[in-house]
């Protein structure tokens, strides 16, 4: 890029003031509380909205210019990738399963974030945060669209991505990211900003985009790398917005501090639970690995998040208390998650497999405290059974956590041999949780979480079969009916990678690409 820089009449600070506060006005014939009805009920007190300033001082005119440049770069690369049969250059076809997880689990969240930021921006009386929310809202829909465009090329060749949005609203494990975002957008505008703007974007998003996208580059997936980095270039601005919002709210009134602290505690935990999927992507699904989940957590949360919370200490904000439990889980999280998807491979839109000898050795070296002792014996057993034609497909539905909606796979803090069970009695019914943190979140707002759409319970209530299904007929196969409802084809979109059409096709096409047949 060789951009011509026009001589500006105004400096950055003046231009920012003119293009934000300068465009705002004070209403004369409508009351402020009628125009901004959602601004008081969460208990956050704001005295001076003008104290908020975007430190990048980005204005809409400059925004369009730079976003257009990002799009040009992105689409040039996507075109080159597609014209060049780039999908055959990835390390091996197992890699494509991370893309399936991304399009069905993450991209729909980008779209919901677009709606969330549009809503939050509309709710805020201050022009500074309103403009920043508008930009982020536009960024998020751009991310959803560019991800769909990039990944549509994979959809031409590989299974499981054909109806990602339909699946996002229905498939059992996708209720985890879906309910996470639904929880955030049904909160008030301030909680939304703390949940997504701060806790997710600032504290956790690096763990999604940086190691994963760098991993995509390492595995020869130029398309994913490019949309990932293009999205991430907006992310730097989102992180800044998230941090500024927190500082602004905290500086406005000391009464805001405990409310914000509770939101940070809640949303760091909620976001971390969603990242369980990323942990397993990094440790199991990238054929060539850049760093382990544990290493990424140490760099991007412990080191970087540590610096952040040290900086916020002057407002009276402390490190979320869940950080202690997370530290205990980092040796186990990815293995417990991969075991889960290996169990339920018949009901997912991607394939799973057992790591080979070299991969097991890598896992042992990255997880010396846990892998050989707890997980290797399990994997070796599964591998032996698969070799005998007895691959394990768990067909019985699991118990789920009422808050995070993940199956109850997590172990007691400090004892990785015992499943962690927590429960609460509320208005005559029992509710179950994977952890103290999910339990506390429920106890704070039980009215909200008793409405959870838990996929397992919905299946048993008969709500997850195609219309017209009669579950009372002789020989009814509930799994088959549920897969139809998900729009997944048994034997093609699910089951082990080893017997998949993806594996067979990739080998054949790669052969054609390198030989004259």
């Amino acid at each position: 890029m060789d951009m011509q820089v026009a001589k500006k009449k105004l400096g950055l600070k003046e231009r920012y003031a003119v293009m934000t506060r300068g465009l705002d006005w004070t209403p004369s014939y409508q009351k402020m509380e009628d125009i901004y009805p959602y601004i008081a009920y969460e208990g956050i007190k704001i005295h001076d909205w003008d104290k908020w300033e975007d430190p990048f001082r980005l204005t809409m005119d400059a925004y369009w210019k730079y976003q257009a440049e990002k799009e040009r770069k992105l689409y040039a690369i996507i075109d080159a990738f597609n014209q060049n049969n780039g999908h055959l250059n990835v390390t091996d076809a197992r890699y494509v399963n991370t893309v399936k997880l991304f399009i069905s689990g993450i991209s729909p969240l980008e779209y919901v974030a677009h709606r969330g930021f549009a809503h939050a921006g509309r709710a805020f009386p201050g022009p500074g945060p309103r403009v920043a929310c508008l930009m982020q809202s536009l960024d998020e829909i751009r991310h959803a669209q560019t991800q769909v465009h990039s990944i549509s090329n994979y959809n031409k060749y590989y299974n499981g991505m054909h109806d990602f949005h339909h699946m996002h609203d229905r498939v059992w494990f996708l209720s985890v990211p879906k309910s996470f975002f639904d929880d955030a957008i049904t909160a008030g505008p301030f909680e939304f900003m703390v949940s997504i703007g701060f806790s997710f974007e600032y504290v956790l998003t690096n763990l999604l985009f940086v190691p994963f996208v760098s991993g995509a580059a390492y595995n020869g997936d130029m398309g994913t790398m490019t949309f990932g980095f293009s999205a991430q270039s907006d992310e730097a601005r989102h992180m800044t917005l998230g941090l500024e919002v927190i500082k602004f709210i905290l500086e406005q009134d000391p009464a805001n501090v405990p409310i914000v602290q509770r939101w940070i505690d809640k949303w760091t935990w909620r976001g971390y639970r969603v990242l369980t999927l990323v942990a397993m992507m990094m440790d199991y699904m990238l054929p060539k690995r850049t760093m382990s989940w544990k290493e990424a957590w140490e760099v991007y949360f412990e080191e970087n998040g540590g610096a952040l919370f040290k900086d916020l200490a002057r407002y009276g904000i402390t490190m979320p208390k869940c950080a202690e439990q997370i530290a205990l889980e980092k040796d186990h999280l990815s293995h417990q998650a991969w075991s889960t998807f290996y169990n339920y491979a018949a009901a997912a839109n991607f394939h799973t497999w057992m790591p080979d000898e070299d991969e097991m050795a890598w896992l042992s070296s990255k997880y010396p405290e846990s892998f050989d002792k707890l997980y290797r014996p399990r994997y070796e057993f599964w591998r032996e059974q698969a070799a005998k034609g007895n691959r394990f497909y768990n067909k019985t539905l699991p118990m789920l956590c009422q808050t995070c909606q993940i199956p109850m796979i997590f172990t007691e803090p400090g004892d990785a041999t015992k499943i962690c069970y927590r429960e609460v009695d509320y208005k005559g019914d029992k509710y179950h949780f994977c952890s103290d943190h999910c339990k506390e979140i429920f106890e704070h707002e039980p009215e909200k979480y008793v409405q959870a759409w838990l996929p397992v319970h919905q299946i048993y209530q008969g709500n997850c079969f195609p219309e017209g299904t009669d579950p009372t007929v002789e020989g009814f196969d509930p799994l088959a009916a549920v897969l139809k409802y998900y729009n997944l084809e048994h034997g093609r979109d699910n089951l082990d990678f080893d017997i998949s059409e993806d594996k067979k096709n990739f080998a054949e096409w790669r052969g054609q690409a390198t030989k004259n047949i």
């Binding site: 009805p37 959602y38 009920y41 969460e42 208990g43 008030g188 417990q336 075991s339 889960t340 169990n343 339920y344 002792k373 707890l374 997980y375 014996p377 399990r378 070796e380 057993f381 599964w382 394990f392 768990n394 067909k395 019985t396 539905l397 699991p398 118990m399 789920l400 199956p407 109850m408 796979i409 172990t411 041999t417 015992k418 499943i419 069970y421 429960e423 208005k427 019914d429 029992k430 509710y431 179950h432 106890e443 704070h444 707002e445 009215e447 909200k448 008793v450 409405q451 959870a452 759409w453 838990l454 397992v456 319970h457 048993y460 209530q461 008969g462």
Partner: protein, 119 residues
């Protein structure tokens, strides 16, 4: 605590027993056998004999594990919500005091998973 809301916030819970067509939910976990990644959720009629739960659905769900065939059911320790409980195979779920969304676990002394790894 209550949800912060702009008006009255009251909604019916999603998973009350009346939604399950005569069944009630029972969660069952096998201690020290994490080859099954999580406890299972089952819908059973409250009148179902507990022994039939063990012989039928539990056999189908846990039977893949080589330890399952070795279980001496007379020695099994049962827990309800983490506390020891005695369950009578000849009585129904309701007669055993098991209600909608109760969670039971069982420990099988001497059996601790693949190579004792709790898998």
């Amino acid at each position: 605590m209550a949800v912060a809301a702009i008006s009255k916030y009251e909604f019916a819970p999603t998973d009350t027993q009346d939604k399950f067509h005569g069944a009630q939910l029972l969660y069952i976990g096998w201690e020290d056998h994490l080859l099954f990644c999580a406890p299972f959720a089952f819908p059973f009629p409250p009148t179902m004999r507990f022994g039939d739960v063990v012989a039928g659905p539990m056999q189908a769900a846990f039977g893949y594990h080589p330890d399952f065939a070795q279980i001496d059911w007379a020695k099994v320790e049962w827990f309800k919500s983490g506390k020891p409980v005695t369950l009578d195979f000849d009585k129904s779920l309701a007669e055993n005091g098991l209600k909608h969304k109760d969670v039971i676990r069982f420990r099988t002394p001497g059996l601790a998973g693949i190579e004792g790894s709790c898998s």
